[in-house]
């Protein structure tokens, strides 16, 4: 598995394949668990309409998710998405490869006790407005566009260690944000110009993802670098 990847770009909406190359599902969303130290750890791939529908936007998505849940109200936990544990992921390439066969794999997460850790979905975080004092140099209407996940040596496995922020909408970079050699030059140049204000903010004490108020606050001491070198 690669050491570092951008979750929205490399993981979200990709096809999941089991160990026999059978198609399992799409990565409809990514489950992030809040660790004891407050860091965000990717713990599962979420699949199914309960994961997909909320991503259709705050208004339309909420209506669709509510409708889906009310249609399925006789199913216990019918509004909970299926989870594929992150430990089962073998490789993240042009598809997500698992180490196990797909039969019987998809089922909702059963929380064993009330003290279960707080879990959030990547889809809920993406698009959050980002506020920062002017000296940090972020564009005024910056939003959270992507999160960068890096492998760590401790028990967490991997962790969100940087945020990609900028004006615009998540996904609008079309994959042109990470590599310099991607052509066709005219198109790539246009997308790059549109996203000249995109920045990478390293996660640290100066960066707070406030899930209750739905915003990301970046303090003056945060480490910020341009996304497009």
């Amino acid at each position: 598995m690669r050491d570092s990847y951008d979750a929205a770009l490399h993981l979200l909406d990709r096809q999941v394949l089991d160990c026999d190359e059978r198609l399992v599902c799409k990565v409809d969303d990514v489950e992030l668990t809040v660790a004891a130290d407050g860091s965000l750890v990717p713990t599962g791939l979420l699949a199914g309409l309960p994961a997909l529908l909320p991503r259709f936007g705050p208004r339309l998505g909420a209506v669709m998710a509510r409708t889906h849940a009310s249609v399925h109200d006789v199913v216990a936990g019918g509004d909970a998405p299926d989870v594929v544990e992150m430990d089962l992921v073998d490789e993240i390439a042009s598809a997500v490869h698992l180490t196990v066969p797909g039969a019987g794999l998809l089922r909702p997460r059963e929380e064993v006790d009330a003290a279960a850790p707080e879990r959030v979905r990547l889809g809920q975080l993406l698009g959050m407005p980002v506020t920062a004092p002017p000296e940090v140099g972020l564009h005024r209407s910056s939003r959270l566009l992507d999160v960068r996940i890096t492998r760590v040596a401790d028990g967490r496995g991997s962790v969100v260690d940087a945020l990609v922020v900028g004006p615009g909408r998540p996904g609008a970079l079309l994959g042109y944000d990470r590599r310099s050699e991607s052509g066709p030059w005219l198109l790539a140049d246009a997308v790059r110009w549109l996203h000249r204000h995109a920045r990478v903010v390293e996660v640290g004490p100066e960066v707070e993802v406030d899930r209750d108020r739905g915003e990301v606050r970046v303090g003056p001491g945060a480490s910020v670098s341009p996304l497009l070198g």
């Binding site: 909406d13 198609l23 599902c25 390439a93 042009s94 598809a95 998540p170 079309l174 994959g175 066709p184």
Partner: protein
Amino acid sequence: MKRYFAVLLGVLTAIGGFVDIGDLVTNAQVGARFGLSLAWVVVVGVIGICVFAEMSGRIAAVSGRATFDLVRERLGPRMGFLNLVGSMLVTLLTFIAEIGGIALALQLVSSVNHVLLVPFVAALVWIVLWRAKFSAIENVLGLLGLTLIGFAVALWQLGPDWGELAAGLSPAEKPGAESWAAYAYFAVALFGAAMTPYEVFFFSSGGVEERWTPKDLGVMRANVLIGFPLGGLLSISIAACATVVLMPEGIAVETLGQVGLPVAVALGKVGLAVVVLGFFAATFGAACETGLSTGYSLAQYFGFQWGKYVRTREAAGFHVILLVVTVLAAGVLLTGVDPIMVTEMSVIFSAVALPLTYFPILVVANDPDYLGEHRNGRFANLLGMVYLVIIVVAALAAVPLIIATSMGQG
């Protein structure tokens, strides 16, 4: 030897597979009304489908991902869904037109009204989609479709003044009675007929079905770069036949029988029988391709198992979709709607829907994450950008032209 055979078979099926009901009807209509003054559009369209199919075939061979996987990955669930709905509607329209085309071809043989034949045709299409092997569908129907070469033979037999015919290739030779708006409308329709989106969904998903690997890139390119242009020549010979026989008589093409009329004039009953077999094979092949394409698109968007390379029960959802769309298409045709009119709508809306899938494919074809060393080179990108502009212009022009000319009447 086996490899040459594979290339030959692929090229031959690509020729037969290129022509479908949209190409048959639109080329004959254009030939009868505008002569060969629109033949250049077929050339533009054929180069376009080569560029598009080569890129998506390459992505499928290297990464194993087909068109709608990429559409959703690049555009996200919301835009991807709009895209899916638009593309599905156009593919469904084409599917209806192809099934109607099969019924019309059988009507030419049996004189039984095509509406009565529709339930049987639809049932036959579904059984083939359900039971037949993927390679059998592609090879048998593709090879039978080659009987459409009858149009080229008929043109030669008609013995037109070749110099005059060649002089008619210039856009300036537009008949004076036709308006430029109608000319532009049919230019877009002909472009849509040559670059129907389902061809690419089918081509890239077919690559996954046939388990292409980077080793197959050469065979894939040969199929595209030889097969499609020869299919385009077949299209032009259909238009030329109509130009020679129908245009002087002022006959407008409104039925499938009129498409075959020049062949009957040139080669008699036997010739007509051969091309009617071609009509049947080409429309049947395209009906299978469009039917499968609806299943491919939906399954690839939602991520469940699709394809004929696994056992039917492993891709149960996919096969349910095939059944539902076939019933739906038969239901629409049973209302008595004219399949030729459905065809005219399907080709023009194909042009409208084309940018939806072309753009994400062009972006991914440049992504080293998917393609590594096989990503687009300078030449592929130059052509890719030129065609992005052409495709967007055609798509934007289509709806105003539909309104301005009442679908090509004016």
